[in-house]
Amino acid sequence: MKDVMLGRYIVGNSLIHRLDPRTKLISCTLIITAVLINYRWYFLLFYILLITMAIFSSGIKPKLIFRSLRKIRYLLLLTFVFQAILTTGHPLMQIGRLSVTQEGIALGTGTIFRLLIFYLCSNLLIMTTSTIKLAAGIESLLTPLTYLKIPVHHFSMIISTSLRFIPTFIEEANIITNAQKSRGAQFNSKNLITRLKSNIAIMIPLLAASLQRAEDLAMAMESRCYTGHPNQTRINKLNFNKKDVLLISFMLALLSVGVISSFI
């Protein structure tokens, strides 16, 4: 269970790994925006090729990523079928009262490609960026919101402590589950009440432990001079360098090409 949630990041030292997390976040956003605006087939194909190249250069086994595509195959299939059937246009085939249209097939294929791009993009981001860097990146990108009096540093503190405690929490949930199993809790019982009761036997101790932990943590933070004011210093500053600037410019250029060509 622990690894399903946290095993997504695969340690590596490729160019993609070394990019600033903000670069990767921005690039992902730019790619997604681009394919939302322009969904001509050659444009989509170009992006797919680009991402495939990125996957290969990241040193992550492509098998790992492409195999995970199986998880969304039904989503892709359903999207395609609905688009094909529900779009009006030149009918190609008649199934009962439903007709498959040419426009529908074109739109469906486009949507599949777009979903693929979202999926591959975000997977590549998560697999090459550690959660900590990801959080730091998000925090840094949200910093301008401080001017709107939104307490970004509080959010980032929340994200950071969550990251810290998720593994502990999962570990604890496992222990409590096993402890209650040892008292005969049944999680696969056919009786709904029994199952509910078994789950309560986990939730309550887990909640109690979390409350205790929150109290302890607050005390520990306070005794280390945490006051809730934004910290002036941070030792792990993120660093934009040349390759980051280059990549973002490239993505911006592509987006502009996409936007312009969609009007032609």
Binding site: D216, A220, R224, N231, T233, I235
Partner: protein, 283 residues
């Protein structure tokens, strides 16, 4: 100078218990001075008030009556709390519940960041603290991957990095195995002797306190006994009355003493005692 100490004067702490105005007394009129450079052992059963006392020392809680001053700074005054907490570092019982950040290095930097120190200074101190507790190779790790003993060391490093004069350890040995406990005790001794840091070690196990300069025994919120470990351990009957047991070695020495054998009470190790018994058997 009289300033270099933590001073509790007639400190009483009560808590509201349950509904109504009924209050439970956690600490009852405690007067105690902890001088810089001392190694103090604070012991008592669960519920004797030792954790309450610890939290008073760095201003996490305020006394109901009486005063607590740290190097002349009153914990009752909010402006001085920051400096008090820097001076008095505190490591809590469960290392898992006090680690704030998702990376070892960031965790150690957390305190200095809060103090608003310059980045270079923080980095230098973090390296120093990592070095001192021996976690240098693990600085990029996630805390949940560390062993219990390593988490404990991390917690200590995160406090040392603020260069405190006093280090409070609140029942730090209860989650450690014998090896971890031994290492911890050795470490604290070094910090006390070499770095001159005052240690306040809280425990419910007298065995942890053999190396203290002074042991303070708490019972029901009052100071019950006080003295060098040897003096305290020798009073077995008085300890037994509040449910405490001296370390096995001291029990044995006390027993032989009661039987009328002349055994040196300053004995601290097994070989010393064996030697003493052999000497006696030769007479």
């Amino acid at each position: 100078m009289t300033d270099h100490c933590i001073e509790l004067v007639n400190v009483t702490k009560t808590y509201r218990s349950g509904a109504g105005d009924k209050r439970k007394i956690a600490l009852d009129n405690i007067t105690l001075t902890i001088r810089e450079g001392e190694y103090i052992g604070l012991i008592g059963m669960n519920g004797s008030g030792k954790s309450t006392l610890a939290r008073l020392l760095n201003g996490l809680i305020k006394p109901t009556t009486g005063t607590v001053t740290v190097n002349g700074l009153d914990t009752g005054s909010p402006q001085q709390l920051m400096e008090i907490r820097r001076l008095v570092g505190m490591v809590f019982q469960n290392p898992d519940n006090q680690i704030v950040c998702p990376v070892v290095e960031e965790e150690i930097a957390f305190g200095p960041e809060n103090l608003g120190l310059a980045v270079d200074e923080i980095k230098r101190r973090v390296d120093w603290a990592l070095q001192i507790v021996g976690l240098k190779e693990l600085k990029d790790h996630a805390p949940h991957l560390l062993s219990g003993g390593q988490k404990q060391k991390l917690a200590i490093a995160s406090v040392l990095v603020m260069l405190p004069n006093y280090l409070i350890m609140d029942e730090p040995s209860s989650m450690l195995d014998p090896l971890g406990r031994k290492e911890l005790l050795k470490h604290l001794r070094l910090l006390n002797k070499q770095n001159g840091i005052t240690i306040i070690f809280i425990s419910h196990n007298l065995e942890d306190l053999i190396q203290a300069d002074r042991v303070v025994v708490l019972d029901k919120g009052s100071i019950y006994l006080q003295g060098t470990p040897r003096q305290v351990f020798a009073d077995e009957a008085k300890l037994a009355a509040i449910g405490l047991e001296p370390p096995g070695l001291n029990c044995l020495i006390n027993k032989l003493g009661q039987e009328g054998y002349d055994i040196d009470e300053t004995i601290k190790t097994v070989p010393e005692l064996v030697e003493a018994i052999c000497q006696l058997s030769l007479i």
